[in-house]
Amino acid sequence: MKKLLFFFIVGVISCSEVRLVGAYDEKVDDGIQSIAKQVSAIFVDIDKKIDQQKDWSYPNYVEQYSKIETEIKTLRIRTNGLSKYEIVKGQLTLLDSSMHLLQRDHQSGFVAPGVTDVAVLKKSIAIDESAIAKSLTMMLELQEGLKRKPVSSAKK
């Protein structure tokens, strides 16, 4: 009976280690950091242009938004090839949705037509910025948590 138990336990233990979440992938982490940088650059630029009374309207940022969208798409493709990456994939889907929402708000001018109060405009933009910054911070926090695993095991 003890021998049977012994071989059973050896069989179970000798299986590879338990993996509930995919391993850390440096390119995914770098990609999220790059997106965070680019999103921050957009908000900083809009803020400066408002202060300088320059044109901060959406058409001036189409290229920047497009670059971010491309980067998110690239990350989504990469994470599709990584095992147990459903959580990160879910976060990227949410980020993609957030970027589209931000663009729609930017296109609409962030405030109602006729509103010229700079403080109100800045407050409206700050609400969007805060939400997207929170999302990116939490995504990077998860990447930090994944870092304890070897990079080589990230691929399928």
Binding site: F6, E17, V18, L20, V88, M139
Partner: protein, 124 residues
């Protein structure tokens, strides 16, 4: 005599209760360590995020009530807050799974040590 010797060697310190205790202790230690080291940071970040998101909801309502933003803009902003909240929940889920995973692997490693000690060589 050799088979008897091997049988005794395997049996030494090798029982279901014994191995369970070793695995349980390893898992418990891992959980305690991770909860102490990883959880406070996530808890603080989550608390701060929830406060910010709640404040944003209040600000959106104020801007909407005063007519500073349109209903459509208010909806867009609320969706952004919802996305941020869901992202936060996914991070919590991920960190939670990492903590559980560490505990399970600690238990398995502890069991490996017991088995290897029992057989007298590195079997697994």
């Amino acid at each position: 005599m050799p088979p008897r010797f091997r049988s005794r060697s395997v049996a030494t310190g090798f029982s279901l209760e014994g191995i369970f205790q070793v695995m349980f202790d390893a898992a418990k230690n891992s959980l305690q360590q991770n909860v102490r080291s990883k959880w406070p940071k996530i808890r603080d970040l989550t608390t701060a995020s929830i406060k910010d998101i709640a404040q944003n909801f209040i600000d959106i309502k104020e801007l909407s009530d005063s007519g500073a933003i349109t209903q459509e803009q208010a909806k867009l902003k609320i969706s952004l807050q919802k996305n941020a909240f869901q992202t936060m929940l996914l991070t919590e889920k991920g960190i939670g799974l990492i903590i559980v995973e560490d505990a399970l692997n600690s238990a398995l490693n502890a069991a490996k040590k017991v088995v290897n000690t029992a057989v007298g060589f590195v079997l697994i």
